[in-house]
Symmetry: C2
Subunit: 393 residues, 2 copies
């Protein structure tokens, strides 16, 4: 048996499972089917680009988790999960993308073989990769089971980071600092956007301070000028221009742990409006950060941020932050709490979030955002990248 290269101690995985089981008990769930790749990784160590086929980790009433997926990916499970090989189950290739045979029929057989078919089973109902067909197929194949929505159940267990997780996020923070430094060093007017993104990727994957870069769960977003008024457009070969702002919404990643950070670059003299937006964002961020401490609510940060922003003549109608950590495409957020009004999540030391005060203006945008760690007494910015609007040329 190959020894897998675990990112965490077996004890840490066991603690995570115990914590999850406690939460299952509170929700009266005996069997939990996990399809979120980040939750699968957090519970077992599994790491592979196989989430384009159906797969799951199952936590039953007793014992260690089971890994279940396409047979060929069972080999990857053997090389990455902490459980012994008899906890790994693969389905035949004929189930792959075959309208006649849904893989969940095979998972149902596994549940029956374990004797868990008449338990109350929790499902991540709104998770990417748990499709409507997967749900219907499973429910049909397990008529004796009862069902519960366990969406977010494991995500919430991940909210407070362990010491090792924080180490990985600090490494990721150094990587994103290097990525922003690379942008400042290499971006020039007339440069094609894709050539700049190539440099960003090179910096991201080569890593920083001797720590390797993993792939980000969202590709670098780097729109310029009017394109930047839309938040999620990707690049093409348009040239960088004098008189235009470009925002860079990027993340450094180490062992799947993300540190997202955004900055805005202006070639030439920024118009007054950009300077005003910069001042407003920085002042509003400071007001938000003053509320970022254990015992406060997530909404406290948002309320302080938004009221300061409004006072300075700007508005933001979307949430200003979300939790971060371990993740897989298509999202680097953890999808639990949000920094927005009415979110009464109590902040605790070890929580990490992306403070995301992006302002979309009529003809562009300004993004100056940070990965933040809640400490025992307040909050720490994981990065040291200078916070102002970057100006060049």
């Amino acid at each position: 048996m190959t020894t897998p290269k675990l990112a965490f101690s077996v004890q840490e995985y066991e603690t995570r499972i115990a914590k999850t089981r406690k939460s299952m008990e509170a929700a009266d769930i005996q069997t939990l089917i996990i399809t979120d790749p980040a939750n699968m990784a957090w519970l077992t160590g599994y790491d592979g680009w196989s989430f384009y086929v159906h797969q799951a980790v199952v936590i039953g009433p007793t014992g260690l988790p089971l890994w279940w997926g396409r047979a060929m990916d069972g080999l990857g499970a053997k090389r990455t999960v902490f459980m012994s090989h008899d906890h790994i189950f693969g389905y035949e290739d004929i189930y792959v993308q075959n309208p006649e045979k849904h893989p969940m029929q095979d998972l149902a057989r596994l549940i029956v073989a374990q004797g868990w078919q008449n338990t109350r089973i929790g499902l991540e109902m709104d998770n990417y990769y748990f499709t409507a067909a997967a749900y219907l197929s499973l429910v049909q194949a397990l008529p004796e089971a009862t069902w519960a929505d366990a969406n977010g159940l494991v995500n919430w267990q991940r909210a407070i980071k362990s010491e090792t997780e924080i180490i990985y996020m600090r490494r990721a923070a150094k990587i994103v600092e290097k990525m922003h430094a690379t942008i400042l060093e290499t971006a020039t007017p007339g440069m094609k956007k894709n050539d700049l993104v190539a440099n960003i990727y090179h910096a991201a994957i080569s890593g920083a301070d001797g720590h390797w870069g993993d792939y980000p769960s969202i590709v670098p977003l780097a729109p310029s000028g009017a394109d930047a008024s839309a938040p999620h457009l990707t690049w093409d070969d348009a040239e960088l221009k004098v008189g235009e702002a470009t925002f860079f919404e990027i993340a450094g990643v180490h062992r799947r742990y993300h540190a997202p950070q955004s900055r805005t670059l202006f070639f030439g003299e920024p118009p007054k409006k950009y300077r005003e937006a910069e001042n407003a964002v920085l002042e509003a961020v400071a007001a938000g950060m003053a509320k970022a401490k254990p015992g406060n609510f997530a909404e406290d940060i948002a309320i302080a941020f938004n009221s300061t922003l409004n006072k300075l003549g700007f508005e933001k109608d979307s949430r200003c932050g979300y939790p971060i950590g371990l993740s897989y495409p298509p999202d680097w957020g953890e999808r639990t709490y949000s920094l927005r009004k009415n979110d009464k999540t109590v902040l605790e030391a070890g929580m990490t979030f992306h403070f995301m005060p992006a302002l979309w203006l009529d003809d562009g945008a300004i993004e100056i955002t940070e990965p933040v760690l809640i400490t025992e007494t307040g909050a720490e910015n994981l990065c040291n990248t200078p916070a102002q609007l970057a100006v060049k040329g």
Copy 2:
């Protein structure tokens, strides 16, 4: 109104919609809700990294498609879709990742506002991003509708590529050729894997022959040695070693069109088993390619490939290919036919697939794979990368 930068003529989009409507009629579907990002892009031009929130394109009984998604992404829709702005509908940010409010409630209101609530509505039941919760929320909110599984309906319309699509795929093929050339040029024993992947990304995004590189729907897979016995592991900072094989499963991408191609690199003298595997794969691929022509079935390629492979003492129990073209993460396949036994899909000129004869050996793997275009008379390899096992050092 901004003029969007369309990748295709409006006429081409209209042709696609007409073709899709015909297929809807055949399936007795009056309203089609499309959640696959590639299908959304193919029908409307929409392009953005926003598929981590719920979004859709809706084709009703009459008129042009409607784009629906998060309000902030409506701005991206305005900059990328061919329809006028009154076809773009955004939902409020409070619906984002909020367990109390599912965005599909908003989509249901849009369907009602259009008067389509008592039609038969097609859904992509097994598509990524169409979750169990999205399905249940929609069905509950539209009690008068009847429902049909339209999974793959639009994917099938995409099987035969247009002239412009083939141009984009040829550009992508040049990019992946350059990526493999970069590997051969820069890989050395002792190099850290992530540093090599950084070079691969740089080559991929900077592009080739003056055409920019887009992001691949699957990250570069580049496992070495025993890790290569598992197909979908991603990189770390392990060093490349003499006496080990590394396979590179990578794609060049231009305007979301993919040309995937894999090669295997060996440092030092490859063992006899690798040479035998190389010979077997190349001979089996030649046998498969001889069957790749209009009028034959998809399975004909697989049967010729597998029988030749078996004759030479090797086995592959997974499919040996799948259609390719426009795609978004997590998969660069089109998810319609497969190159495997019993797939009676008739090959036609303009079809494109990834001929994927990967062989996983006990202690490693050999991958020599190609993007292929079915022509009027046979098949064309879109790339010219030398086919053999690459040997260096």
